[in-house]
């Protein structure tokens, strides 16, 4: 029997004291022979290990391959790094003839940022693969004086799996295209790959590129030479293997790639007729909209509760609909709530009790916890489950999973769309004496600080700089756009009235000014949703943009009638159009007084009396509607500028490399208005310089 010690360091409440004492009485008897038996096994294993350590290179290679297969490969289903082939070490120059000892490689090990240089090329150095594969035992490595070498081992199975899965192009997965890419990695003495090349192509360029993109993220134990960490080359086949259940499933898990700027098609006989002009008088009552999804939500909540039945989480942290939304409820702090609920949801997964609803809930919580990659995997896993287990498939739930996946992709797309940088040499011909201290032309790319300063000091010169030196970065945003739109299409096709998917899809088309499509899609959305106000707003926006202001006005007014009062008040809010004195008065008004002020404001500007007057009113509503749909609110910084000045003539977006984007909104005269936006965020805020400029504009040129 084993002795236990149990200091009780803090007083427990009385009701827990008994339980504490009971647990403190926990004893377990080891089988008497267990300890000695295990010790014997350990000793045998150690003896075998010692023999292996002194074996020639061929043994090292075999061991490394097997170990890596076990450690790295077995648990990586879709795209796996299967075998590490240990090639050799250069930790001690001259130890091994024929071992690659490139000085440049050693240099790269010590240089910061070396991983960024991993590129599609043959690695530097000689031919390590040949050395390792062909003549390991014939070289000095086989001599009795050979140092004891231990091969690197891959670490982090789960992370590696996620990494490889994240780089495996979805388009290829869907087509069932896989392959093996042999990477040759230089792993430094801390186990980090700092140089990589392709030693054997898969024959598919996208897969080769994907493997190279993943390479910097692999983590190894360093190779050991006489117990000392050393850098080394390894050869590393990365196997991309499409999931057979996904590639050949009877039906689509993820929508095949679509024309990103097209409308979805729905297998419904009257689908095309749904895009005919709306009869606004015959729309269903607004009250019918709110509960349209209620029964679907209830079913999903019940499904979620089934996943949590063992842990009683729904009772303690629920109600289930809140958990399904990933939103904290009750009196718990949100962070604590998320930790507790996500723990229970993970436990349900560990117990094999997960279902699409619990995966949806956990994914939503993970987004709030900053784990967006994991969230996406969870949504995709949920989608795969809905195919494999049709009994769990509920159209609304499937649409929610598609929509959440699409939203993540949308954030990523917004983080890379139209991002570029400005070549420093573009400043060469520009004149801006006031900015002389900010430096002249140089090599490389201009800093964001310099661009912002020039923008406000010398806007004319800056227009010249942007005109000649702005260089869009190749960020792959087109791919994200396609994937995002494919997800939104899928959500709408399975659940045509899905509000979020319809709105995001149509706003995206609006960003590309595809107004005919926006109008057509908005009409369908409005019809199938029973008259959702966002559908009416989008239809109104499209009509306004194609010059049909009278129809646009009818749609906007129908939307305002069907919206909650507070939302409607946001859209008709006038504050951005008022001078500072009037604005101060306006914001203090009671709602009814504010409505009267607004009516008076527009009447004095010709609403109802002239076409121009009506057009101004409609233009304001169109701007406010777009700001609400695109930025989430007409009152944030971006919404404020949009409502006040409308769509900018041009936008330049510059990435300073810190995950922060700086946007330059060009309105044709004066400086561009500058905003800062964080990647993967819709929030767009004025820079301090931008705020100062906009405020000054308000003082000098009060809005009319």
């Amino acid at each position: 029997m084993m002795e236990r010690r149990h200091p009780s360091e803090e007083p427990l409440p009385e009701e827990l004291r008994g339980l504490h004492d009971e647990l403190s009485a926990f004893r377990c008897e080891e089988r008497p022979s267990f300890g000695p038996e295990l010790r014997s096994e350990l000793a045998r294993a150690w003896a075998e290990e010692s023999v292996r350590r002194s074996a020639p290179w061929s043994r090292h290679l075999a061991t490394a391959a097997v170990v890596a297969l076990l450690v790295g490969g077995a648990a990586v289903p879709g795209a796996r790094a299967s075998i590490v082939r240990f090639i050799g070490s250069i930790g001690r120059p001259g130890v091994e003839a024929g071992t690659p000892t490139p000085d440049e490689a050693k240099l790269e090990v010590t240089e910061p940022g070396a991983a960024e240089r991993i590129s599609r090329r043959e690695p530097s150095g000689t031919e390590p693969a040949t050395m390792a594969a062909v003549a390991p035992a014939s070289g000095p490595a086989a001599s009795s004086n050979e140092p004891v070498m231990v091969a690197p081992e891959m670490l982090g199975r789960v992370a590696t799996e996620e990494l490889l899965q994240s780089v495996y192009p979805l388009a290829l997965q869907r087509r069932g295209v896989g392959g093996t890419v042999w990477l040759r990695l230089w792993v430094d003495d801390r186990g980090r790959p700092v140089d990589a090349g392709i030693s054997r192509s898969s024959g598919v360029d996208e897969l080769d590129d994907a493997a190279l993109r993943a390479a910097p993220g692999f983590v190894f134990t360093p190779a050991l030479q006489d117990g000392r960490p050393v850098a080394t080359w390894i050869e590393f086949p990365v196997l991309f293997e499409p999931d057979p259940t996904e590639a050949h499933a009877p039906g689509r898990i993820l929508q095949p790639l679509v024309d990103p700027l097209s409308l979805p098609t729905v297998p419904r006989a009257d689908w095309w007729q749904l895009s005919e002009p709306l009869d606004l008088e015959r729309l269903p009552e607004a009250g019918d909209i709110a509960d349209a999804d209620a029964s679907a939500r209830d079913r999903a909540a019940a499904l979620l509760e089934a996943a949590l039945s063992q842990t009683d989480v729904a009772r303690r942290y629920g109600p289930a609909p809140s958990i399904l939304r990933g939103e904290a409820s009750g009196r718990m702090a949100p962070t604590e709530w998320r930790e507790a609920v996500s723990g229970a949801l993970v436990e349900a997964i560990d117990l094999g009790m997960e279902n699409p609803a619990s995966l949806l809930a956990l994914g939503r919580i993970r987004i709030r916890q900053g784990l967006r990659g994991e969230a996406r995997s969870l949504f995709e896993r949920g989608l795969r489950m809905t195919l494999r287990e049709p009994s769990l498939t509920d159209a609304w739930l499937v649409a929610e999973l598609h929509f959440e996946r699409g939203s993540l992709l949308r954030d990523r797309w917004l983080g890379s769309r139209e991002v570029g940088r400005v070549r420093s040499e573009a400043f060469a011909g520009a004149q801006c004496p006031a900015a002389r201290l900010s430096g002249g032309a140089g090599a490389g790319y201009a800093s964001v600080e310099r661009l912002v300063a020039w923008n406000y000091l010398c806007p004319t010169a800056m227009a010249h700089v942007f005109g000649g030196g702005y260089e869009p970065a190749n960020t792959g945003s087109a791919g994200d756009l396609s994937l995002m739109m494919a997800s939104l299409h899928a959500a709408i096709e399975v659940y045509p009235a899905h509000v979020g998917a319809n709105t995001d899809l149509l706003v995206t088309l609006a960003m590309y000014e595809r107004w005919d499509d926006v109008l057509s899609g908005a009409r369908r959305f409005t019809r199938v949703s029973g008259g959702h106000p966002d559908g009416l707003l989008l239809a109104g926006l499209a009509l306004q943009q194609i010059g049909r202001a009278a129809e646009a006005r009818e749609h906007f007014e129908a939307a305002l009638e069907r919206m909650p009062h507070a939302d409607a008040a946001d859209l008709t809010d006038l504050r951005e159009l008022l001078g500072s004195a009037e604005r101060a008065l306006y914001v203090r008004l009671a709602p009814a007084e504010r409505t009267a002020w607004e009516d008076d404001y527009w009447r004095t500007r010709g609403r109802g009396a002239s076409e121009a007057g009506d057009a101004r009113w409609v233009e304001h509503l169109a701007r406010a509607a777009f700001a609400r749909l695109r930025f989430g609110t007409p009152f944030g910084d971006a919404g404020e500028v949009w409502v006040r000045f409308g769509r900018p003539d041009n936008v330049h977006i510059v990435d300073d490399g810190s995950g922060r984007l700086t946007e330059f909104w060009d309105y044709g005269s004066g400086p561009d208005i500058t905003f800062v936006r964080w990647v993967s965020s819709k929030r767009t805020e004025l820079t301090p310089e931008g705020r100062a400029y906009v405020d000054d504009l308000g003082k000098i040129y009060p809005p009319q």
């Binding site: 010690r5 647990l23 377990c28 089988r31 267990f34 014997s40 096994e41 350990l42």
Partner: protein, 197 residues
């Protein structure tokens, strides 16, 4: 060539009592010093003695394999071993959960004991302990972890804090919450009084 029989006559000491091939001296010392704590920690988390033995074996095999890379600056030996144990338990439970229940019948718990004088009382205590362990397995992983470190491995708050890299105060808070949740869990599964008396 000498065989085992040449050096170990039949009827002599059991095999494990013979002089063994050496282990690295530090590792040998760790094994002697920390095996029981690791075993108890594992036993607290898994359903049977056999499973505890298997997982404990895995822990020390992995530790031995990684021993040349052990960095004293990063973790004390016991902390390192218990981290390996945590991963091994997680792997074991995942494999088990695919096959069936985590819970174990009260008929198969002969290794759980209590210091009580009578056989009957001992049986009652054994059942109660097993119920508590079964209840603990319905808790979230973090709760199970802290309970098993405390009541399985026998670590005090400061040692748990070092192991989990959190403050002593945080350990106390988490322990308190875990006990509370365990109490609720056990009450729900067996509505009798929590009072052990």
């Amino acid at each position: 060539m000498r065989t085992e029989q040449d050096v170990t006559p039949k009827g002599a000491e059991p095999r494990h009592a013979r002089p063994e091939a050496p282990l690295p001296s530090d590792f040998e010392a760790w094994y002697v010093e920390h095996r029981s704590a690791v075993y108890r920690y594992v036993r607290f988390r898994v359903a049977t003695r056999e499973a505890a033995e298997d997982v404990t074996s895995v822990v020390f095999m992995k530790a031995l394999k990684s021993f040349p890379r052990y960095d004293e600056a990063k973790a004390a030996p016991r902390t390192w071993l218990l981290r390996i144990a945590r991963n091994a338990v997680t792997d074991h439970l995942r494999a088990l959960q695919r096959r069936g229940s985590l819970h174990v019948s009260l008929d198969s718990i002969p290794d759980l004991v209590a210091d009580v004088p009578s056989h009957d009382e001992r049986v009652i205590r054994q059942e109660r302990i097993q119920k508590l362990l079964n209840g603990s397995r319905t808790l979230r992983q973090a709760d199970q972890e802290i309970l098993s470190l405390r009541f399985g491995a026998g670590l005090d708050n400061a040692e748990i804090a070092e192991h989990l890299r959190i403050s002593n105060n945080a350990v106390a808070v988490r322990l308190h919450r875990a006990l509370k949740r365990l109490r609720i869990s056990v009450e729900r599964s067996a509505p009798e009084s929590m009072d052990p008396r």
